[in-house]
């Protein structure tokens, strides 16, 4: 579904990604781990071109999208949802409008259809009573669940999660991970950058360890967590587990 070839990205002299290649198949749940500054968020942001790669290519559903622009780029992003560390809900809109704005403004659903879809999504994330509330009235965990619902409203083929629980108070991490587990069980293709090793072990179909802008090691959660080969990975795990 997503094919990454020799992807690199530098900001000035700073090389953040240094030749990353991988394939992400439909239905996979890829969890990206690594120390901070390893390039994992930048890798994720290159997939939907929030960052423009400086080298290599990204293919999505068989099409090279590395230099996509305008309408083509917008259509790709409609199919690639993204959930942000800081939620980035729209503070001036109600929860319902936050969820419906994308399908309505992109002329995929009418407002009535989108409202119906929003009701279903709100039920799914367990926040039906918050439809008319504003983001500032929600807790961090609730905001992130709404952000996931907002992404789902576009019916994406894949969802990119950029440290979705890093900005949350510890007691709210669980509710967001539960929801992500539910999505995973429903067969959603997911790429997740996270520090939640428990989630990686339980949900990932593949764990990718990044350091110094490269994929140092990847494999099943079992391979990565019980028999890590790369010394950097062993060092990293010894510090986070």
């Amino acid at each position: 579904m997503i094919s990454v070839n020799d992807l690199s990205k530098s900001f000035g002299d700073l090389v953040v990604l240094d030749g990353v290649s991988t394939n992400i198949e439909k239905g996979e749940k890829v969890v990206v781990i690594g120390p901070s500054g390893s390039g994992k968020s930048t890798f994720l942001r290159c997939l939907n071109l929030l960052e423009q790669p400086t080298g290599g290519s990204v293919e999505f559903e068989g099409v090279d999208i590395t230099h996509a622009k305008g309408k083509q780029l917008n259509e790709i992003r409609m199919k690639m949802g993204m959930v942000f560390q800081h939620f980035n809900l729209f503070p001036h809109l109600t929860i319902r409008r936050n969820i419906t704005i994308a399908p309505v403004k992109n002329k995929i659903l009418t407002q009535a259809q989108a409202d119906k879809r929003a009701d279903e999504l709100l039920a799914m994330v367990g926040l039906s009573d918050k439809a008319e509330a504003y983001p500032s009235q929600l807790s961090g965990g609730q905001k992130q669940r709404i952000a996931i619902a907002r992404t789902l409203a576009m019916n994406p083929d894949v969802i990119l999660f950029d440290e979705p629980t890093s900005a949350l108070d510890p007691e709210m991490v669980g509710e967001v991970l539960e929801l992500m587990k539910k999505l995973a069980e429903g067969g959603m293709t997911m790429v997740v950058v996270t520090h939640e090793m428990g989630f990686a072990r339980e949900v990932a179909s593949r764990v990718m360890f990044m350091a110094d802008g490269k994929i140092q090691e990847e494999g099943t959660p079992d391979e990565i967590f019980t028999s890590p080969k790369n010394p950097r990975l062993r060092d990293f795990l010894s510090r986070v587990l």
């Binding site: 939907n48 929030l50 305008g70 309408k71 917008n74 259509e75 992003r77 409609m78 690639m80 949802g81 993204m82 942000f84 800081h86 980035n88 809900l89 729209f90 503070p91 001036h92 809109l93 109600t94 704005i101 994308a102 403004k105 992109n106 504003y134 500032s136 009235q137 907002r150 992404t151 576009m154």
Partner: protein, 240 residues
């Protein structure tokens, strides 16, 4: 007894002056007509100021964020430098006597253009700061949902920016109202000029000028209360 006579005399004298200043020859109409002209110029200049100001602000912030529109941004910067760097009265005189010097054009229209262009320069910087104050995450959220730059700007960024800058915009409208008092420099009979005409007819300065000041003050108080009411309405969603 002397004291009472003094007070009585004062009231009689005041009554005479008041009568002379406002009632004789319907002089109060100078103030009424002047206020009409002042409000007309302010309102039309405000429309120009806001429309042009938004356009300039969007060009400038688009350039700041994406590096596009280099030429347009350069022109906008010259415009801002010139209009914010020279006195309003001088701009009004230049536009009236130099730019429209050889054309027969309504003075009100000249004033509207001059005050509109001047106000737009200030509005532009207010709006630009409002746009830049919206978190970059909002642009990214818009982009990640498939919105292009324009759609993100219109549906997501500008509504938030507008709410943040409303007090500053209201303030700019108040400044504009007061600035129009220099319209007399091109012989426009606005509120200030109206009071001044009365003064020169009656040789009595106190009453007409105080009356002019009071009318400005009342207008400003009304505008302030309108702005704060609008502000409260728009911020409802933030903290209910």
């Amino acid at each position: 007894m002397d004291f009472l006579t003094t007070i009585k005399d004062w009231f009689i004298e005041f009554g005479d002056k008041f009568y002379n200043t406002f009632i004789v020859e319907n002089r109060w109409m100078y103030l009424v007509n002047g206020l009409g002209t002042t409000l007309l110029i302010t309102a039309l200049a405000l429309v120009i100021g806001i429309m042009l100001g938004f356009i300039v602000a969007i060009i400038r912030s688009t350039n700041q964020r994406t590096g596009k529109l280099k030429v347009a941004n350069f022109i906008c910067r010259i415009y801002l430098t010139v209009f914010r760097g020279t006195p309003m009265v001088v701009q009004l005189l230049i536009i009236y006597f130099v730019i429209f010097g050889s054309v027969n054009i309504s003075k009100v229209l000249v004033a509207v253009i001059a005050f509109g262009l001047n106000s737009a320069a200030y509005v532009a910087e207010i709006v630009r700061s409002g746009i830049m104050s919206v978190d970059n995450g909002q642009f990214e959220a818009g982009a990640s949902l498939g919105f292009g730059y324009t759609k993100t700007m219109i549906s997501i960024i500008l509504p938030q920016a507008l709410r943040n800058i409303l007090p500053a915009l209201g303030n700019e409208a108040i400044v504009l109202l007061k600035e129009t008092s220099v319209s007399g420099y091109i012989a426009l009979e606005d509120l200030t000029k109206g009071g001044d005409i009365i003064r020169s007819n009656t040789y009595e300065a106190f009453l007409p000028l105080i009356a002019v000041a009071a009318v400005y003050l009342i207008m400003v108080i009304i505008m302030s209360s309108l702005v704060s009411r609008l502000e409260r309405k728009l911020s409802n969603d933030k903290r209910k």
